[in-house]
């Protein structure tokens, strides 16, 4: 486990908001030299604290008007292979995230679609036909906030 000091936390917080800023620009905000900032970012990357970057796209401007979260229960547990289900569901382009969970559902999926009728098509043709898919619960996303988490 990686221990962070105050500066690491500030760097992480800043990069989670905007990862395109240079080490020099970020360092200036924090009163740190460019090489010192760069070394700290590098350390966070090699320690796996920063596991990658994500491009933030405007889904609506790209024509994706709805995001739906699906809770999926597997039917006939024990007879379906989790690997088969996971491989098939991950291959659906509209499915953005797949989480294996414990509780009321077995999997939680984030699905994007152009509109509700497009979503219905994805649900009927792609999700309901997955090997082992049982009960499905859908919740349409209205708003979403990502918070800094326990580094802020």
């Amino acid at each position: 486990m990686t221990e962070l000091d105050e500066l690491d936390r500030k760097i992480l917080h800043a990069l989670a908001q905007d990862a395109s800023q240079s080490a020099g620009a970020l360092g200036r905000k924090l009163g740190l030299s460019q090489p010192a900032t760069w070394r700290r970012i590098r350390r966070l990357e090699t320690a796996g604290v920063i596991k990658g970057r994500r491009l933030r796209l405007n889904a609506e401007a790209l024509g994706f008007g709805v995001t739906v979260f699906l809770g999926v229960k597997l039917a006939r547990k024990g007879q379906v292979s989790l690997e088969d289900f996971e491989r098939a569901v991950s291959a659906i382009p509209e499915v953005q995230t797949v989480e294996h969970v414990l509780g009321l559902y077995d999997y939680r999926l984030r699905v994007v679609a152009r509109d509700l009728s497009d979503f219905e098509r994805v649900l009927r043709r792609r999700i309901m036909t997955l090997p082992g898919a049982g009960d499905v619960e859908a919740n349409v996303l209205l708003s979403e906030e990502r918070l800094p988490g326990p580094i802020g």
């Binding site: 990686t2 604290v49 994500r54 796209l57 509209e94 989480e99 969970v101 509780g103 996303l141 918070l147």
Partner: protein, 151 residues
């Protein structure tokens, strides 16, 4: 409107946002200057809104992630606003989503271990205002997490 070249750029760029313009251009089989102009244009149009670092919370000692699905007491007119404002004050909450459906609000909450989670749940979550019902889903694994848009 976007054309095929824009879409090609977005596909490759989403898959690896750390690519330089030259690398991105090569993958898209276009010149670097065309690529740069296209990216610039999509940034100006707010189609590309930026880049964010993805934090691996497990590497920071947060081994437990729980998805809390909350139903609110809708007889209270300000239930949504008061609940979300209070939830934002809990540092371990990393995501806050509102829904149309059976679930009203979903929180993603981090904890170091199960006893830490139990303590957070009792002291910080159950004390949030206007909760009618709450359900927990414990994360076991992230099978897919790239959040790519199928452009």
């Amino acid at each position: 409107m976007l054309d095929d070249i824009d879409r090609r750029i977005l596909r490759h760029f989403q898959a690896d946002p750390s690519l330089s313009t030259a690398e991105l251009a090569e993958l898209c089989r276009i010149s670097a200057s065309v690529c740069w102009r296209r990216v610039e244009k999509m940034q100006e149009a707010s189609i590309i809104q930026g880049q964010e670092a993805v934090i691996d919370w497990a590497a920071l000692g947060y081994a437990v992630e729980v998805s809390l699905r909350v139903t609110l007491d809708k007889t209270q007119p300000r239930a949504f606003d008061e609940f979300t404002a209070a939830a934002r004050q809990v540092p371990e909450v990393i995501e806050l989503q509102t829904f149309l459906g059976r679930v009203d609000v979903r929180l993603s909450i981090l904890a170091k271990d199960m006893s830490h989670y139990q303590q957070l749940y009792r002291d910080r979550i159950l004390t949030l205002p206007h909760i009618a019902d709450i359900e927990a889903l414990m994360h076991i694994a992230r099978v897919k997490s790239d959040e790519m848009l199928p452009v």
